[in-house]
């Protein structure tokens, strides 16, 4: 009889454990620590995929060397890019070099976007076909990558850059790879 009662408890215990798990998941999602839709980057701790893009003045993978650099994939048609613009401008004021790659965008539209929301980019390149972005594993804009001074990718942020991501993730990495 006792054993039976114990067996009856098994489904309840299962429900409690699953519920606690889901609750933890939701909480982490709300805090921005967990995104069920995010696709892990495959190039972390690997050299930057080779590329050379035109622009004003445009840049190549070989330019991403010598000091930590942020590479930001963005587009004028992208709403979250507007959201992160102040954060990028703040980083630029702090002296962080940011290289921009305009993803599937027309040069005129890009110029207008930068005139309106500020231009944080030390260099600006165009990936009109979006093929360089695919080599990086980009699946949406904006995406931001930290490249260390050896040209190794150290970090990626999907979606708009937030002040929390900068203080909690980017700054410790910058101290480590300075």
């Amino acid at each position: 009889m006792n054993r039976r009662r114990l067996l009856l408890m098994v489904p309840f215990a299962g429900v409690v454990v699953a519920g606690a798990g889901f609750l933890a998941m939701l909480e982490r999602e709300q805090e921005g620590k967990f995104d069920p839709r995010s696709v892990p980057s495959q190039i972390i701790n690997k050299p930057v995929p080779a590329f050379s893009l035109p622009g004003s003045p445009g840049f190549a993978s070989t330019d991403l060397r010598g000091r930590p650099i942020l590479v930001n994939f963005f587009a004028s048609w992208c709403i979250p890019c507007v959201e992160e613009a102040p954060e990028l401008m703040a980083l630029r004021r702090q002296g962080m070099p940011i290289y921009g790659i305009a993803y599937k965008d027309k040069p005129d539209a890009t110029a207008e976007f930068l005139a309106r929301h500020g231009d944080p980019y030390a260099k600006l390149a165009r990936d009109e076909a979006g093929l360089v972005a695919i080599n990086w594993g980009v699946y949406g804009v904006p995406e931001t990558y930290l490249i260390d001074k050896q040209g190794i990718v150290r970090w990626r942020n999907v979606g708009p850059l937030t002040p929390q991501a900068v203080t909690a993730e980017l700054q410790p990495l910058l101290r480590r790879f300075a």
Partner: protein, 150 residues
């Protein structure tokens, strides 16, 4: 009622299968190569919509990936090579069917585990059930009859 059912059945028949929404200009001229590209694309996840294959998705990125798959098929690369090219960039997540490897054993074995757990619980519940009471003795049967008759 039957008329409605018939009408619904006719609608279903007329609808036909939903085909890839790619526009015909995307297709490779070689029928065999195109079939192979479709077969590969069906196994690849669109990273924007995430629950559709790149063959079914209308997303921009999916169209680019379909184009890359077709380029590589036309260049004579094998299905495995094309899929590996995409996995290198987007990880195993790009495969709609996850690979069979240590980190996915739990996933692949979960149906077996669920059946085994259910069978175990059923077996234990059966064992702990009290045995059936012994049949009535002739004296008890007689008493029962007496009670029922009064």
């Amino acid at each position: 009622m039957t008329r409605l059912a018939l009408a619904l059945a006719a609608c279903l028949l007329l609808a036909g299968p939903a085909l890839a929404i790619s526009d015909p200009s995307e297709a490779l001229p070689n029928k065999q190569e195109e079939a192979r590209a479709v077969a590969i694309g069906r196994q690849l996840r669109c990273l924007v919509c995430q629950n559709e294959s790149i063959e079914d998705s209308g997303a921009d990125l999916a169209r680019d990936l379909r184009h890359i798959v077709r380029q590589q098929v036309a260049a004579g690369r094998t299905n495995q090579q094309v899929i590996a090219w995409l996995v290198k960039r987007y990880g195993d997540f790009v495969r709609l069917k996850p690979p069979f490897e240590p980190s996915t054993y739990l996933l692949w074995f979960s149906p077996v585990l669920a059946v085994a757990a259910g069978a175990g619980i059923a077996l234990m519940a059966r064992r702990s059930r009290p045995a059936a009471p012994p049949p009535l003795s002739p004296a008890e049967q007689q008493r029962l009859r007496q009670i029922l008759d009064t």
